[in-house]
């Protein structure tokens, strides 16, 4: 119980710090703006209006969620070292793994609350128009959260050894490459050179594949929930996130706090 309550104290403090950050509210404000704008877009669209609203809303929640994950994640550990607040935490009976996991859990909690707020708003807007979102929309939010957890783990890893600017560049690179993973595979399979093929395959297996997490087509077109895929993607996300966080802990464990 002791370890869990300490972990929770660290997570709750990180969450409290995030929700008292004005930048978070700015991002959330824009996300809410885009969601509301999706209603206006349907007025000038020909065809299935609901699909447009769902598509814009999904993209907004995905995009702004990733922005918050990157923005808060890249300075998660670095800021503690830079501001020297880490001294009074790690000089308490707090192992370093617990510190990293506590900070990470706090950020995931922030993302969960952010997604929940946007989802409630989205559901409210749709319900007001007599179109309650289909269940697949809610499942897609679950896979989105798994995707953001993985992205946050990468940002956390980078924040254990680099400045926020460098960590942001690394995380952005992971974000972009992660969305192009299928293209890397395709590029490798079409390449003539065996070396290029092998490099492309290694990159594909090493780097995250964020497109796996996306259920946007299913959500937009109200397709049945692909449970097998959802289970697979959640397992993939959990395993990959655990690996990246383990690396973050290993890096931070060796770090001297001057």
């Amino acid at each position: 119980m002791g370890a869990l309550s300490r972990l929770w104290a660290l997570a709750a403090n990180t969450f409290r710090e995030a929700v008292r950050d004005r930048v978070l509210y700015s991002i959330l404000f824009f996300a809410v703006g885009v969601l509301c704008l999706s209603l206006a877009v349907q007025e000038i669209t020909i065809g299935d209006h609901e699909k447009v609203v769902r598509s814009v809303a999904q993209a907004a929640i995905d995009g702004f969620g990733s922005l918050i994950a990157m923005f808060l994640g890249v300075s998660l550990v670095y800021k503690e070292i830079e501001r020297k607040t880490v001294y009074t935490v790690l000089s308490k009976p707090i192992p370093r793994w617990m510190f990293v996991l506590g900070k990470y859990a706090g950020l995931v909690l922030t993302l969960t609350v952010e997604i929940a707020i946007l989802l409630v708003l989205y559901t409210g807007l749709m319900t007001a128009q007599q179109h309650f979102p289909p269940p697949v929309v809610f499942v897609s939010m679950l896979t989105l959260l798994a995707q953001l957890m993985l992205l946050t783990a990468w940002a956390t890893l980078f924040s254990t050894f680099s400045t926020p600017t460098t960590a942001a560049a690394f995380t952005l690179a992971i974000f972009v490459i992660g969305h192009l993973a299928d293209d890397i595979w395709l590029f490798g399979s079409q390449a003539q050179s065996v070396t290029v093929q092998q490099v492309a395959r290694i990159l594909y297996w090493l780097l995250p594949n964020f497109s796996l997490f996306s259920l946007r087509p299913e959500a937009v077109h109200e397709l049945p929930i692909p449970w097998d895929r959802v289970a697979g993607v959640l397992a993939y996300g959990a395993a990959y996130t655990t690996a990246v966080l383990s690396l973050a802990v290993a890096v931070f464990q060796r770090r001297d706090l001057r």
């Binding site: 002791g2 929770w8 104290a9 403090n13 001294y87 009074t88 001297d256 001057r258």
Partner: protein, 318 residues
């Protein structure tokens, strides 16, 4: 309580502790600690003194688990320094502490109390008690970013002793404080000792170290140059005398003051008899003869001076 020196009575122990930093592009090695041996006994106030760069903060950071030693070993409360359980009964105030500015003083202490796994009732009681003790109760719900430097230091002291630890380590606790703040720190250190806690602190304010410490360690260039009670370190030896006299005579020595009718000079202790005779035989009058003993400051300065050749040798090795 068992007497000092017994193994079970040692709360901090360091053996051949060495820390080498790698700095700059070429990762040039710089020695922070050079084979430090140290033992702090239960229930004592232990002062760490030394010039800047002597290794005081490095020692403290290793003992509190913030840095790892390059070689050697250290234990805190009987456990290896890198075992987080060694910090369950440790309270620590870093030099120039920084705290989460989004929290109020009360929230901050509550957070630290949770990290020590204190139950809610005890946390509430201790937080209120301590905030009142350091005169911060009125500002308990004000965000830390609105606190003055002295207030931050006071809340820092509170978090260090919140869970009534057996060992309190304070790094430069008087740094930048006004006389009232320094008096408060002094009082708290003495209260902690009275409670039975061991207090280990570093300071540049040697008069405070001298007045509060049961034992003092002198660190110079990363190694221990002396340890013992203030009396043991300073000794009883009279190093010079200050002679105040009247009359138109010259007993020698270095003039310190002259007020028209009397002159005060400083002389080597061995010159005292001759100087007094010179004054008396010259028709003058001895007003005052004050023996000057060594101070902690003069002992420290001597040790720094003595360490210079060693330092040059050490750099040569690198």
């Amino acid at each position: 309580m068992a007497g000092p020196g017994r193994e079970t009575d040692i709360v901090i122990s360091a053996h051949k502790l060495r820390k080498v930093y790698r700095t700059g592009f070429w990762m040039r090695p710089v020695v922070g600690l050079d084979g430090l041996d140290l033992a702090v006994h239960r229930g004592e106030v232990f002062g760490l003194i030394g010039p800047n760069g002597a290794g005081k903060t490095t020692t403290i950071k290793i003992l509190t688990g913030l840095q790892s030693a390059t070689s050697g070993s250290a234990t805190v409360m009987g456990r290896p320094y890198d075992d987080p359980r060694s910090r369950q009964q440790l309270g620590f105030l870093p030099e120039r502490p920084y705290f989460y500015e989004h929290l109020s003083g009360r929230e901050l202490l509550d957070f630290y109390g949770r990290l020590f796994d204190m139950d809610a009732g005890l946390r509430r009681r201790r937080i209120q008690e301590l905030l009142e003790r350091v005169d911060l109760a009125r500002f308990a719900d004000v965000p830390i970013h609105k606190y003055s430097k002295g207030m931050v230091q006071r809340v820092g002291l509170c978090q260090a002793i919140l869970h009534e630890p057996d060992l309190v380590i304070l790094d430069e606790p008087m740094s930048g404080l006004d006389p009232l703040g320094r008096a408060l720190v002094r009082d708290i250190i003495l209260e902690e000792r009275a409670r039975g806690a061991t207090v280990c602190f570093s300071s540049h304010v040697l008069s405070d170290v001298e007045s509060m410490s049961d034992r003092v360690a002198i660190l110079v260039r990363g190694s221990l140059r002396g340890v013992g009670t203030v009396r043991e370190l300073i000794g009883d030896r009279v190093v010079s005398v200050e002679l105040r006299y009247s009359g138109a005579v010259d007993p020698g020595g270095v003039e310190l003051r002259s007020d028209g009718s009397t002159r005060t000079v400083r002389l080597e202790a061995a010159e005292a008899d001759r100087a007094v005779n010179t004054v008396v035989q010259g028709g003058g009058r001895v007003v005052e003869l004050l023996p000057q003993r060594e101070t902690l400051e003069s002992v420290l300065l001597d040790e720094v001076e003595r360490a210079r050749p060693i330092d040059a040798e050490r750099l040569g090795v690198l």
